[in-house]
């Protein structure tokens, strides 16, 4: 039986919330964990240990229990108004394939695992919010020729991971499959902190040269991958674009609470880390331009943690008397607060200069909240004509769109179209697509 080995190194240190990459690793691993009984392949998990420079088998059930119990403790499903069964049903629906629901053994595993999650919720509430190793490292992984090794995370954090995989693959000959989030750090170095450039670029170089299948998360990233290969004389490996899950919770408006008193009734939301790449300055310029033209724009609520080179934007916003209360920055909003913002804003705006995908756009649409976004890189792939775009370099264009969609009729037209045509991608769909691709490997 062929074996799929999934690397969980990214999940080793977990502080209660998953970052973007961890979310991918967790959700796809979760699918394989729950679906393994119905798969043709054996599924095993592993983590990389710096101590001996080797991969060790890891126990996903431990991670699963802790993450699920934490979710149960902190998210809206812990609402005591919902029955235990309803909570389980809600949580499991996106992850459990139809064929598993039909298998008695699989059903038992799913229900048992989910029950553990809920039972541990109380424990999780009391648990200290510190980083904690989640895997139970044990034996070294003995790679075999027929193995498929799946790297879903960001091995560029530790270059030894790729080196070890390359060396082992040279010796054993297993199939190596890796997700490619983007090549922005290498191809647009001006948009990231320079310390990331070398490890990221070197890791990508080795990943391309040593992988049997690469999985860019957008057509734009696939194009960038080709460009990277061309620039470095690398042979373009086999690639397949996968669409990541962007499903969200729904039908729970009653439980959501406004996360900050400064938020006004009518507001536009911009969600995502505040960093130079996300181009928040364009919104500042658009609002200043609007003031100069005597236009009345709704409040802009910028939600995101403060990242690299974001000081200028924050300083301008916080100290410009003309924009007092017109733009507010919220950098400490939890998941439920974020859901409230998605649900209650007029629409979202996303002016990013470059993306590998553009998760805040997909998330906004998953809440059926209209979005206007920059027409750069992968962003137009998310919803095509269903949303509207502006150049990330034009404050005029951005202002024009901000004004257009203040109009409820315009917005409603778009929102109707969204409701009709936009369907979020579930992690189950992502994982099933991935499984098909793995099955196609020779």
């Amino acid at each position: 039986m062929r074996r799929i080995l999934i690397d969980l190194t990214d999940l080793e240190l977990w502080n209660g919330n998953h970052g973007g990459t961890q979310r991918v690793v967790y959700n796809i691993s979760r699918y394989f964990y729950l679906a393994q009984v119905s798969l043709e392949q054996e599924v095993e998990f592993m983590t990389f240990s710096d101590r001996d420079g080797a991969f060790h088998t890891a126990d996903f059930s431990g991670i699963y229990e802790k993450v699920e119990s934490h979710r149960a403790a902190t998210d809206v499903y812990s609402n005591p108004g919902l029955s235990r069964k309803a909570r389980l049903k809600h949580r499991l629906r996106p992850y459990v394939p139809e064929k598993i629901r039909k298998s008695k053994r699989a059903r038992q595993i799913v229900i048992r695992s989910a029950s553990i999650g809920l039972r541990l919720s109380k424990q999780a509430r009391r648990a200290p919010k510190r980083a904690k190793s989640l895997s139970k490292s044990s034996e070294r992984v003995a790679f075999q020729k027929d193995d498929i090794v799946l790297i879903l995370g960001k091995p560029w954090d530790n270059l030894k991971i790729q080196e070890t995989l390359s060396r082992q693959r040279n010796v054993v000959g297993f199939k190596l499959v890796q997700v490619v989030y983007d090549l922005i750090i290498s191809l647009q170095p001006q948009l990231h902190h320079p310390s990331l450039f070398t490890p990221y670029t070197q890791n990508m170089f080795n990943a391309i040269s040593d992988s049997d299948l690469l999985l860019p998360i957008s057509k734009s990233s696939a194009q960038d991958l080709k460009k990277f290969c061309k620039l470095l004389n690398l042979q373009v490996p086999k690639t397949a674009v996968i669409r990541l899950g962007d499903e969200t919770v729904d039908n729970l408006e009653d439980n959501l609470v406004k996360p900050d008193a400064r938020i006004k009734d009518r507001f536009i939301a911009c969600i995502g880390t505040i960093e130079i790449r996300k181009n928040h300055m364009l919104l500042y310029y658009a609002y200043k331009l609007g003031l100069k033209k005597g236009l009345d724009l709704p409040q802009l609520v910028v939600v995101g943690s403060r990242g690299w080179l974001s000081g200028d934007f924050q300083y301008l916003v916080e100290n410009d008397p003309a924009l007092k209360d017109k733009i507010v920055i919220l950098d400490n909003v939890n998941d439920t607060g974020l859901q409230w913002i998605y649900k209650d804003c007029l629409f979202t705006v996303y002016p990013s200069l470059y993306e590998g995908w553009g998760l805040p756009v997909a998330e906004s649409l998953a809440y059926n909240t209209f979005c206007i976004a920059s027409d750069s890189s992968s962003i137009p792939e998310i919803a095509g004509d269903l949303i509207d775009y502006f150049s990330p370099y034009s404050a005029d264009e951005c202002l024009e769109k901000l004004m257009t969609y203040q109009d409820k009729t315009e917005r409603d037209k778009k929102t109707e179209l969204l409701a009709k045509h936009y369907r979020p991608t579930t992690w189950q769909e992502t994982s099933e697509h991935l499984l098909l691709l793995l099955n196609d490997l020779p």
């Binding site: 320079p194 450039f197 620039l231 470095l232």
Partner: protein, 404 residues
């Protein structure tokens, strides 16, 4: 034995030869020593470039050193002029020449003649003059200085000095020794009375088990199975050729293979290619390349012995390439430009040789060579390959000089 005394002059010592010019001069010295009664060599040189030197070698004084540090690429002119202008150098040179009273002075490259000419006039000495021309230097100096973005005015001045010197030497020397047929013809055009061809040669590889073990353990540690070797001195045409033919984007080199850069050119690569520079070629270059650094003869011998392919990506510069001779004698797979095979045109028909004159073809040839089986040379090819040894290459020169 020829009962004549020879003084050999250069702008670099030959005690522990590393670069091509040093190796050639050393070989000439050894060849003369076999046939002549007394042979001495003296280098006027910059200590910043060379640490090993002999008792007759004369380092530049402080003024000369400052001039070289200000303009290292014209250091050879400074060294040549110092023979007359630098009081310390001048004193030592006068002592050497008057003591030896040579019948023949052989200057390797034209530069020493800048100071030697007025000095001989002053001493009223008229030994036979042999001009060892390694290249047609003036146009090559222009290329080197231009590629280093030296101001045009300074380039013109330097090139003018060298061109005039070469013409004078070519015309007035008792013998011109040329490296290639092409250079021989150029010197004849310049008015040379007598020209002899003495192509560059090579000494057989010397190595040791210890050196072999060193590289084997190094490759094992790196997980490397195949070696593509580029040996060169820190001479601008060497790196210019490498960039033109191989390039900085080394993704076409398989993961189990490394381009190993050896010799003083390694200093240049290490200085220029910084992985932390925000450039994807720089960031990834050392993933497929490895700097072996400056090596002892034994280490270099073992490195050559254990390499799979030798690269000769030379696109400019005159003279014949010592590295080409080295590659011929080493009997490895070779990828060369046509330019690198000047004087060794016969070698392109040998097995395991790829000739490529643009980057695409050169890279493709490396790919092909890595996969291709190694083919044995014929008996005749083996005999021909031995011709590249120094004693064969310099035999005619020694014969002609002895008759001067």
């Amino acid at each position: 034995m020829v009962h004549k005394k020879i003084l050999l002059l250069s702008t670099y010592p030959i005690k522990n030869p590393r670069h091509g010019g040093q190796k050639r001069t050393r070989a000439i010295y050894e060849a003369y020593k076999q046939d002549f009664a007394e042979v001495r060599h003296s280098a006027v040189f910059f200590r910043g470039f060379y640490h090993d030197y002999g008792k007759d070698d004369i380092p530049l004084g402080r003024t000369g050193e400052q001039l070289v540090m200000r303009s290292p690429l014209t250091g050879d002119i400074v060294c040549g002029e110092a023979i007359y202008k630098d009081p310390l150098v001048n004193k030592k040179m006068i002592k050497l020449i008057t003591e030896l009273n040579p019948d023949i002075i052989h200057i390797e490259q034209p530069f020493p003649y800048l100071g030697l000419r007025p000095l001989l006039d002053e001493l009223n000495m008229k030994p036979k003059l042999v001009f060892g021309s390694q290249n047609i230097e003036a146009p090559m100096k222009r290329e080197i200085l231009e590629s280093a973005n030296v101001p045009t005015k300074d380039i013109d001045t330097a090139v003018h000095i060298i061109a005039e010197l070469e013409h004078e030497l070519s015309k007035n020397s008792d013998l011109v020794v040329a490296c290639t047929e092409l250079d021989l013809n150029k010197h004849t055009e310049m008015g040379a009375k007598k020209v002899v061809l003495a192509p560059n040669g090579i000494a057989p590889i010397k190595t040791s088990q210890n050196s072999r073990d060193h590289w084997q353990s190094q490759y094992k540690r790196m997980g490397v199975k195949r070696i593509v070797l580029f040996v060169g001195s820190a001479h601008p045409p060497n790196w210019t050729g490498f960039w033109q033919m191989v390039g900085k984007a080394l993704g076409f080199i398989p993961a189990d293979t490394r381009i190993v850069v050896a010799g003083s050119i390694s200093d240049y690569f290490e200085r220029e290619i910084k992985p932390e520079a925000l450039d994807i070629e720089d960031a990834t270059f050392w993933l497929r390349a490895f700097s072996a650094g400056r090596l002892s003869e034994e280490r270099l011998g073992a490195l050559i012995e254990q390499s799979d392919i030798m690269l000769l990506p030379i696109t400019e510069g005159g003279g014949s390439n010592l590295k080409t001779a080295e590659a011929i004698l080493a009997d490895k797979k070779v990828i060369a430009t046509s330019h690198a095979l000047r004087s060794f045109e016969w070698f392109k028909h040998f097995p395991n040789v790829w000739v490529a004159d643009n980057q695409k073809d050169f890279q493709k040839s490396i790919d092909e060579a890595l996969e291709a089986p190694f083919n044995e040379r014929t008996a005749e090819q083996k005999r021909l390959a031995q011709q590249v040894k120094w004693d064969n290459c310099l035999a005619d020169m020694v014969k002609v000089v002895s008759r001067l």
